[in-house]
């Protein structure tokens, strides 16, 4: 490909082009071309995927911490029977905000945020696809978060639970603006998630380095691809459901009002048709983390690549077939129950296959036990236990006993923390050196891990027993006569331990940024392309686009050609390849940084918040949105000239 005529320009002498042996001048030209503009305005106009993803990760992590603080207040309230630290209303707001934040503002977006950072680096691309849309998606997400928390600070926190069941959240019982704020927060975050899905799918399918055919793609890219397709199928359901809720509340439609032909179960079906796949939107990227981390620390390629890919896809399909197991206590026909039981139980099979493949990788590898691997090993304990209780909850007879008790609280935390947060922390320890250029401290990391692991089990294991002993969820207090006091106290002690461990993690991050050991390109000896570029990566990611010859490009014997050369260094030229085999296809110009995605996001926010108060906001609010989007897509003379200069036909 080095020699290919198709990639040499007619005016090659006048311009700078990249390549493996590019001069320092070419490299700095590349960096300048792809860098974000300086200054405050430049910060708002930034579109580099690493800049946006860093902000995205920091934002989601901030909300993770906030939701954790809310959880601590709840555990304080429940530590003793009959506590009156918070009122019932406040308690309802606490668990609503905790669940909403963890699910919508942390777990799903953080996976997309990490993917937005890593995927272009892993597939050997200069940029993420649709970089301005990526920036817009981030701003919309941020403004959605601020709307929810701003409203909460003003006293309009939603109190109907993260699931916002009608009629409790409907016009007659959900008084105040809380449920509207909640529903509109859904609109913000789901809009952002859908856009991110489009961005990530396009990046994965069209921007892989030449030679990285689908069957050579890193497993994290596979997990992300599968997840983002799930986003596209799951999110419209909740967007429709929440829009119908707002319409019921604002303009008097009767989607959910049984006395006027509506149906309270309609909400539950729509919500869980999204809500159950959502668990897998959180879980599948984490499986991708594990499949990335394990081979590096077992010093061998993953065992059963094809089986793992097929298992990921099977999980995605099955995930859409078991939403009714959240509704077994409503009146579901017997045949339906059997079907959903079977689907709920059988989804353990693809997860099991992946776990067996990972254990095989561990057993046949040579282990290098470092903090990222510890977090992955914790997965085998916590997630598998959560999976076992999941099998119990999939069975109708057991579910009707355990549903809406503390058993479910235990189960969901085992699955979501064990299945997603522990691998996510593993991923942060693993990729932090790449993102920041500095290593996190191994000793502090081990302290963080062990406190988190022990605290987690102390906090959540007793909840299984509480549920079996009849303690329902979402109760703001309980009586000493129920015999639940000791286990609740134990659980609160565990929660405090988790808090200490998270503080240690923050200390570790701050310490690393201040005086962490420099990481170098490849501190762990990884196999995937992100480890071939400096840490932190330059704005253009790669000085020359690599050509991939196997599944583990940094471990495989080198092939020829090793690099693509001839992309413009003074323009945002990228290489687009074919979806299946990653054959070089097109050489388009990517957009330059722009303030308009930010402005469009502000206009969108005005429309969304306005429509909480009056339906007319849809009318007048759309004018600035249209204006901002028009300005966004208006081509400049300079860009046109550049595109024309680079245009050639083979």
């Amino acid at each position: 490909m080095n020699e290919s005529d198709a990639f040499s320009h007619p005016d090659a002498k006048a311009r700078l082009f990249d390549g493996p042996d590019a001069s320092a001048a070419t490299r700095s030209a590349l960096a300048l071309t792809w860098a974000d503009p300086p200054g405050w305005l430049g910060a708002l106009a930034a579109i580099n995927h690493k800049t946006i993803a860093r902000r995205f990760i920091a934002t989601t992590f901030t909300f993770f911490l906030l939701a954790g603080v809310l959880a601590l207040v709840m555990r304080l309230q429940l530590a003793r029977p009959g506590n009156r630290i918070v009122s019932p209303d406040t308690y309802d707001a606490l668990f609503t905000m905790h669940g909403t934040t963890m699910m919508f503002l942390f777990a799903v977006p953080v996976m997309q945020a990490v993917a937005a950072y890593l995927i272009p680096l892993m597939v050997g691309a200069r940029s993420i696809a649709f970089p301005r849309m990526n920036a817009y998606a981030y701003w919309v997400f941020l403004f959605g978060c601020l709307t929810l928390y701003g409203a909460a600070l003003l006293g309009a926190a939603p109190q109907a639970g993260w699931f916002s069941y009608v009629p409790l959240a409907g016009p007659n019982y959900g008084l105040g603006k809380g449920p509207d704020i909640w529903a509109q927060m859904i609109t913000f975050t789901e809009l952002s998630a859908l856009l991110e899905a489009v961005v990530l799918i396009t990046t994965i399918l069209k921007m892989r380095a030449p030679g990285m055919s689908l069957n050579r793609m890193p497993l994290f890219a596979w997990a992300t691809l599968v997840t983002q397709f799930m986003v596209i199928f799951a999110m419209p359901s909740i967007m429709f459901a929440s829009t119908a809720l707002i319409l019921d509340r604002l303009v008097g439609t009767q989607f959910y009002n049984p006395s006027l032909g509506g149906d309270v179960l309609l909400w539950q079906h729509l919500f869980w048709f999204f809500g159950h796949p959502e668990v897998y939107l959180i879980f599948i990227p984490a499986l991708g983390f594990i499949s990335s981390i394990l081979p590096t620390f077992a010093r061998r390629p993953i065992f059963g690549y094809t089986a793992i890919v097929l298992a990921l896809i099977a999980t995605a399909f099955l995930a859409f077939g078991l939403w009714v197991h959240h509704m077994f206590a409503t009146s579901v026909p017997a045949l339906g129950k059997s079907f959903f039981t079977a689907a709920s139980v059988m989804i353990a099979v693809p997860s099991g296959i992946q776990i067996y493949c990972w254990i095989a990788t561990l057993i046949t590898g040579r282990l290098n036990v470092k903090t990222p691997l510890l977090f992955v090993l914790a997965f085998f304990f916590i997630l598998v236990l959560g999976g076992m209780t999941g099998i119990m909850l999939g069975a109708v007879p057991l579910d009707v006993q355990l549903h809406d008790t503390y058993f479910v609280v235990a189960h969901l935390h085992y699955v979501l923390l064990g299945g997603a947060v522990f691998p996510l922390f593993g991923a942060l320890y693993y990729w932090f050196p790449k993102i920041s250029g500095r290593m996190l401290d191994e000793g502090l990391g081990r302290w963080h891990f062990w406190l988190f692991f022990i605290g987690f089990n102390v906090a959540f294991f007793p909840m299984h027993l509480l549920g079996l002993q009849g303690m329902p969820r979402r109760v703001w207090t309980y009586s000493s006569g129920m015999g639940w006091s000791d286990l609740n106290l134990l659980s609160s002690i565990g929660a405090a331990t988790i808090a200490v461990s998270i503080v240690l993690f923050l200390v570790n991050v701050v310490r690393a940024r201040w005086r962490g050991e420099p990481a170098g390109r490849d501190p762990w000896g990884g196999a995937t392309l992100e480890w071939s570029t400096p840490s932190p990566p330059p704005p253009h990611n790669f000085d020359a686009i690599p050509v991939v010859h196997g599944r583990d490009p940094l471990w495989d014997p080198p092939g020829t050609p090793a690099y693509v050369s001839g992309l413009a260094a003074d323009a945002r030229e990228v290489l687009v390849t074919t979806a299946l085999d990653a054959v070089p296809d097109l050489r388009p110009l990517f957009p330059v940084p722009s303030i308009w995605p930010f402005v469009s996001a502000v206009a969108t926010t005005v429309l969304f918040i306005g429509s909480i108060f009056t339906p007319w906001a849809i009318v007048w609010g759309s004018v600035p949105v249209v204006a901002a989007l028009t300005a966004w897509f208006w081509p400049t003379r300079r860009q046109n000239a550049q595109a024309l200069a680079l245009e050639r036909r083979p």
């Binding site: 019932p88 095989a360 119990m392 007879p397």
Partner: protein
């Protein structure tokens, strides 16, 4: 756990962070609550009454339905426990036999070029075994579900239960010549006879759940569902609302008293009666206060002019063990407190504070305590 707790019939302590008066409650319960059978006869009578635990453990079934579920629970627990242990053993094996790799050099891939037949066979083997185990569990699940739906209900006792924020309205339709009657927050059922409860919701979604007897079933606005169970052992069973229903979801407990058939019949017969006429002038004044104040617009006391439908039927208030759906033990002092300031007992409750002069309140409480 249940045995060790001193209080049981009510949930005292809940609303009183300060030391609750255990002994007083015991006395109050002993004097105002009809005796519930099913306790060891060797205990002195008063103590025996006091020691009846409020049962709410899904693993200690008191009826056939909960027993089916517990059997499935044990089977699932064993199977899942074995699989969990096996996975951990696999991981520990990998850790213990670990051949360390200190330097992050690129690994030697030559060993992995040829297919790893043994590992492949092992992974395929355990995967197939997992499928077999899971299919077995699904079969057990479906069989248990069938068994749950096969409770014979030919001569069942029917009850209509409606959930409201935050109390339970119960109607017992006419049965074997006994007329229909209404009560609230406490169901009495005969031991050994199947019960069919028709469930409905007046406002938002609630959920009926008595873990000792059966799993839960939601009470849905606009949809009537039923749940069938049978209490096979006398006792007092807790039934907290199991679907989040607003501010006082935590203080919305139903109580199910299972008692021998004759005792149940006596209770039901007593419930059909109208309230007795006031015995003295104070009680008569109390009744007049009730009828002329806000009380009567929400509550019914059969045999008086109070026919309100928004709150619990109070005709036989003093036969119940608790006030305000499990929030307080039912006695004169708590009644007075509840009427004076309901919001301090159950923040967010829909019962308004009724402003009464002290003599009026005292008379009212005197009259209410005669509603047996």
């Amino acid at each position: 756990m249940k045995r060790s707790c001193a209080f049981f019939l009510a949930r005292p302590g809940l609303l009183r962070p300060r030391r609750t008066h255990c002994a007083r409650h015991r006395r109050a319960i002993a004097s105002t609550v009809p005796v519930v059978s099913g306790v060891s006869v060797t205990m002195p009578a008063a103590l025996a009454r006091a020691a009846i635990p409020l049962e709410h453990n899904a693993l200690a079934p008191a009826g056939i339905q909960a027993e089916h579920i517990v059997r499935l629970w044990h089977l699932t627990l064993v199977v899942c426990g074995i699989v969990f242990a096996a996975v951990l053993v696999g991981v520990l094996f990998a850790l213990l036999r670990r051949r360390t790799a200190q330097r992050p050099q690129p690994p030697d891939l030559s060993g992995n070029v040829k297919p790893e037949r043994r590992t492949q066979r092992a992974v395929i083997g355990v995967s197939v075994l997992s499928v077999v185990l899971l299919v077995g569990l699904v079969v057990a699940d479906v069989l248990t579900d069938r068994a749950l739906s096969k409770l014979p209900v030919a001569d069942a006792l029917h009850i209509q239960l409606t959930g409201w924020q935050w109390w339970w309205q119960a109607r017992y339709p006419a049965d074997h010549g006994r007329p229909a009657f209404a009560t609230a927050n406490e169901l009495h059922v005969p031991v050994g006879r199947p019960v069919v409860v028709a469930l409905g919701a007046g406002d938002v979604i609630h959920s009926f759940w008595v873990p000792s007897l059966h799993g839960k079933k939601d009470l849905l606005p606009g949809i009537t569902s039923t749940i069938e169970f049978r209490a096979d052992r006398a006792g007092v069973y807790d039934g907290p609302c199991a679907e989040f229903c607003g501010a006082e979801h935590a203080l919305m407990a139903l109580r199910v008293v299972a008692e021998p058939a004759d005792r149940y019949a006596a209770w039901a017969a007593a419930q059909t009666a109208t309230a007795a006429a006031p015995a003295d002038a104070v009680a008569a004044h109390g009744m007049q206060v009730f009828e002329s104040s806000a009380c009567a617009s929400c509550h019914t006391v059969r045999g008086t002019h109070a026919v309100g439908l928004l709150g619990p039927d109070l005709t036989h208030l003093m036969t119940r063990q608790t006030l305000a759906a499990g929030a307080l033990a039912n006695n004169a002092a708590n009644l007075s407190r509840w009427i004076r300031d309901p919001n301090s007992v159950k923040p967010g409750t829909t019962m308004p504070a009724v402003r009464l002069s002290t003599p009026d309140l005292q008379a009212l409480v005197v009259w209410l305590t005669t509603l047996k």
